[in-house]
Symmetry: C2
Subunit: 198 residues, 2 copies
């Protein structure tokens, strides 16, 4: 068996994982298209060419980041708790878990939500994201059919507004100074499910 943890001192420098983490940070600051490999190199403290020792290229960096976000979201909808019980409860659970993924993988999901389909990589990500949205849309429709959601608003609109609210978290949430994922989900569910007005 391979030794679980090599206790030897590792050589200094980066690996594909640390390159990805730092790159995604810069992508989110400047936007993917607004980020040059020079920008990444500066953030990593190495030369441009050193990046290609760890990673095949810029677009691969994007692809890996997007997969990390999408894998998290699909793990939510694949869970059994999103598939059994009253639709309104499944919806609430799914919203709560989505918020958790959003917070846990904040930079990756942030990047995902800004993708516009400029390349094959981006289009593939958009396609997977649409699949996720379809699942949510179905959940809301079921909750409406069960009579658990106010009938005077179109379920399709509810879906967009509800997950618009969830996704907007990436625009302002700061993990250091902010609330926890559960605090966030609590506040969001109180507002959207019960309403702000006393």
């Amino acid at each position: 068996m391979a030794p679980p943890t090599p206790t030897r001192q590792r050589k200094r420098g980066h690996d594909p994982e640390s390159v990805l983490a730092i790159a995604v940070g810069v992508f989110n600051e400047r936007g993917y298209d607004g980020t040059s490999m020079e920008d990444l190199a500066r953030a990593l403290g190495v030369t441009k060419s050193a990046i290609y020792y760890h990673v095949p290229g810029k677009e691969q960096l994007l692809a890996r980041a997007l997969d990390r976000a999408l894998d998290g979201l699909f793990a939510v909808v694949a869970d059994e708790r999103a598939a059994s019980g009253p639709a309104i409860d499944r919806l609430e659970w799914t919203v709560r878990q989505s918020v958790r993924i959003l917070v846990d993988r904040l930079p990756y999901v942030t990047l995902l939500l800004r993708v516009r389909g400029n390349s094959g990589t981006e289009q593939a990500a958009l396609e997977r994201r649409r699949e996720f949205d379809k699942f949510i849309s179905l959940l809301v429709k079921e909750a409406a059919a069960e009579g658990s959601i106010r009938p005077d608003v179109d379920p399709a609109l509810v879906t967009r507004l509800l997950f618009g609210t969830v996704n907007s978290i990436t625009e302002w949430y700061q993990p250091a100074r902010g609330a926890s994922a559960d605090d966030l989900a609590d506040a969001l569910l109180k507002m959207t499910f019960s309403g702000l007005r006393v």
Copy 2:
């Protein structure tokens, strides 16, 4: 020779306004940084260099678009109806008007909400936007102080969630197929003020 168009064309070609409108459309499709002047030229049906006859450059195009969005939003908070009466009513009115601006100037606001501060132009826009956010934040705080908003959620969080929902409209709203601005505002206010749950 093909017969020339019998109608006397008063003015053929583009002007700064039509260039801006089309450019903003492309910016929103591909992202500002992802859009080249070639892309714009293709969308306009002219050569790259022709654009510079109507407009000083790419960044000026962005600046004009962002101003159009920000001017609309500031017109809302400058209105007297956002300054007098119970805070909860002023908040509701402001949300409704913001949705209206968002729909009326959809492409411009969409562009604004994606700005990351990569240039002086973008930083100036972000600064103005922060000023707008400050006004909203104050409104929510007043409504909370008046006891019109549920006390178990931090007003700062409410501000972000509420306008996160409003701003998310730019991510999915399609004026052709969708509801009107008032329909949107109705649905949004029902969800956030009264809650989805029956």
